[in-house]
């Protein structure tokens, strides 16, 4: 396992460094900055803006800015947010757990529920349940996440059962630890449900496809001939074989998960990293935008690394291949 982690890390680190450089240059070359917006303001004298420029090091050449920023990141300092007048790392510390909670819970739920639904579907392939489920999945997958979120939002508004937007209630900080957790869960309910609806069709269809390929294989018939119960066949023989493709699907859909979480956050008002990134872009808050970009890339790379480790655990062939190289 250590070998897998090492070999993946050795290619992930340069990739991440390149990613930061690319993001930095994109934002650096972009016309218009936060300070340009201040320049237009007639009440702010030029000297103030020059002082700000000096304080944030924005008057230096780009490679110096980049290396200073990178050195800061190594210490956990992502620079200042010009829009919020707070360190970017503080803002990320608040919003990242919320995005991870939303995306992580939805991902795990979809992996489990998608596999279970796929199993049900595949037991009577092309039966009425299977056909209905496939059509529903196709329809759901064809609906834009924003439309799903709008439908969820109007449902919540009509029934009044769930809070509309926000990550916590007004007086949440005075609640006990368990009260705060319950409040958090209540607020997570709507965005979580929408994100699950966005992701579930893909997971279901994939699980169904994988199992439909495995089910006609001789070893399943052999297990049945041995007199094993259906439950044992599924748990001991079918699932281990299908686990590897399911995990690799989950890792390849990480980008989709982050995109979905982004849109769901924006529509349902869940105060996560996606909302922060959008504000940063609109206000030209360069350090904040850079921070969210890099953190999102790190999530993707670490997620893929985790998936590789899990894959090596569940699939001996990958382990052997890794050991022989």
């Amino acid at each position: 396992m250590g070998r897998v982690v090492l070999s993946r890390l050795s290619s992930a680190v340069p990739l991440l460094l390149l990613t930061t450089l690319l993001s930095f240059l994109l934002i650096h070359w972009a016309p218009g900055s936060f300070l340009d917006q201040l320049r237009v303001h007639p009440g702010i004298p030029e000297s103030v803006i020059e002082r700000l420029e000096e304080r944030y090091g924005l008057d230096r050449p780009w490679h110096l800015q980049y290396s200073a920023w990178l050195a800061g990141v190594a210490r956990g300092d992502f620079g200042p947010s010009l829009r919020f007048q707070r360190p970017v790392s503080d803002l990320l510390k608040e919003s990242l757990p919320r995005t991870l909670a939303l995306a992580g819970l939805a991902l795990v739920f979809c992996l489990v529920a998608g596999t279970a639904l796929g199993l049900v579907s595949v037991r009577s392939l092309n039966g009425s349940w299977d056909r209905g489920a496939c059509r529903a999945a196709l329809a759901l997958a064809s609906t834009h996440p924003v439309i799903l979120a709008l439908l969820g939002l109007s449902f919540a508004a009509a029934t009044g059962a769930l809070p509309l937007g926000g990550g916590s209630s007004l007086g949440a900080s005075s609640l006990s630890w368990s009260g705060r957790a319950a409040d958090f869960a209540r607020h997570l309910m709507l965005p979580g449900a929408v994100l699950i609806l966005v992701l579930l069709p893909g997971f279901f269809l994939h699980a169904r496809g994988v199992m439909a390929e495995v089910l006609p294989l001789p070893f399943v018939a052999a297990s049945r001939a041995q007199g094993l119960s259906e439950g044992t066949i599924v748990l001991r023989h079918l699932l281990p074989v299908t686990l590897a493709p399911l995990v690799s699907y989950a890792s390849s859909s990480l980008s989709r998960v982050l995109n979905g979480a982004f849109l769901v956050e924006v529509v349902t008002g869940w105060p996560g990293m996606g909302r922060l990134a959008l504000v940063a872009l609109r206000e030209r808050d360069s350090f904040l935008l850079l921070g969210t970009l890099v953190v999102a890339a790190v999530i993707l790379v670490l997620g893929n690394l985790l998936a590789d480790v899990v894959l090596a655990e569940v699939d001996p062939r990958i382990r052997l291949e890794e050991a022989s190289t």
């Binding site: 990613t19 993001s23 994109l26 834009h144 109007s154 980008s255 995109n259 529509v267 969210t292 970009l293």
Partner: protein, 302 residues
């Protein structure tokens, strides 16, 4: 069953001629009829918060979405093909370099990457500039996947005997690339265009929704949906402001997805695997190994 293809054709036709049939201007404001409910006598699908006709806006938005999605996917496949063919044919350092760049683009989550890219362009006001920006943004995200697929195809094609035969008969380099490699790849590339269209339809709406695409007052599905988010009261009671674009978009993407299924059934036979998401990768694998592909190759070789 060819319902998907027919429906997609009809919707495309609607998007093409729809704006000419629109009863009102999409930007004209009827100040006396704000949030007017749908009625057969006045505004058929009602009006939005500025008194603009929802039907006319939806029809205009459909044309914009279709045009940008089709141009976006075409540009992405063109860029991806160019990179993939260059990487696959030149090999060595160029191959490694280009594939690293492609990986870099795949390492960034698409939406965050688009946010970064969007900053490069001024806040466009002209609809034409806005659509160009959307097309470029979508293609910038999409080209890398195509490039990897095409490179894989090129790597296997260049080992084929008929390439060696063409070389031996003194075929020029251009002939090798355009006739023997790209010619063989043509059905594969056309398939890629179709396969990715739904994602580009959705992607265009995402951009406009986030305010990164076509800006108000010009109509787009994205900013019509965004209008509903501003006010939760609009959502339920004024469903007609966002319902029609939502319905039309879902119908279009659904028919595109059905069309893909039909294409697959036609070219690859009916398979039990219905996961259309990883379909692109599987199609490429199938294509290179299927009898269809090799028959095609043999035909070309003889």
């Amino acid at each position: 069953m060819r319902a998907g293809g027919i429906l997609l054709g009809l919707l495309s036709l609607l998007a093409l001629v729809g704006p000419e049939l629109a009863p009102h201007s999409p930007v004209a404001q009827d100040r006396d009829r704000i949030y007017a409910a749908p009625s057969l006598s006045g505004h058929v699908l009602g009006t939005d918060g500025l008194g603009r006709d929802v039907l006319s806006r939806t029809l205009h938005a459909a044309r914009f979405t279709l045009a940008t999605a089709v141009s976006g996917v075409t540009l992405a496949v063109l860029l991806g093909t160019l990179t993939g063919v260059v990487a696959g044919l030149l090999g060595g350092m160029w191959d490694r370099l280009l594939m690293r760049v492609a990986e870099l683009f795949m390492a960034l989550p698409a939406l965050y990457l688009i946010l970064g890219l969007r900053g490069l362009f001024p806040d466009a006001i002209e609809p034409f500039e806005a659509s160009l920006i959307v097309v470029v943004s979508l293609a910038a995200v999409g080209w890398s996947g195509v490039a990897r697929l095409v490179r894989g195809q090129v790597l296997s094609i260049r080992e084929e005997a008929y390439i060696a035969a063409a070389r031996a008969t003194g075929a020029s380099r251009a002939r090798l690339v355009f006739v023997h490699v790209l010619g063989i790849l043509r059905p594969f590339l056309l398939l890629q265009l179709g396969l990715q269209l739904p994602y580009y339809l959705l992607g265009e709406v995402t951009l406009s929704f986030l305010g990164l695409g076509l800006a108000e007052p010009a109509p787009s599905f994205g900013n019509m949906l965004a209008g509903a988010v501003v006010n939760v009261a609009v959502l339920g009671r004024r469903y007609w402001t966002w319902g029609p674009p939502a319905f039309l978009l879902t119908l279009a993407v659904l028919s595109a997805n059905l069309w893909i299924e039909e294409l697959r059934a036609r070219y690859f036979g009916s398979s039990e695997r219905a996961d259309f998401e990883s379909w692109a990768t599987r199609a490429s694998r199938l294509w290179s190994s299927s009898t269809w592909g090799s028959k095609h190759l043999r035909h070309r070789a003889s």
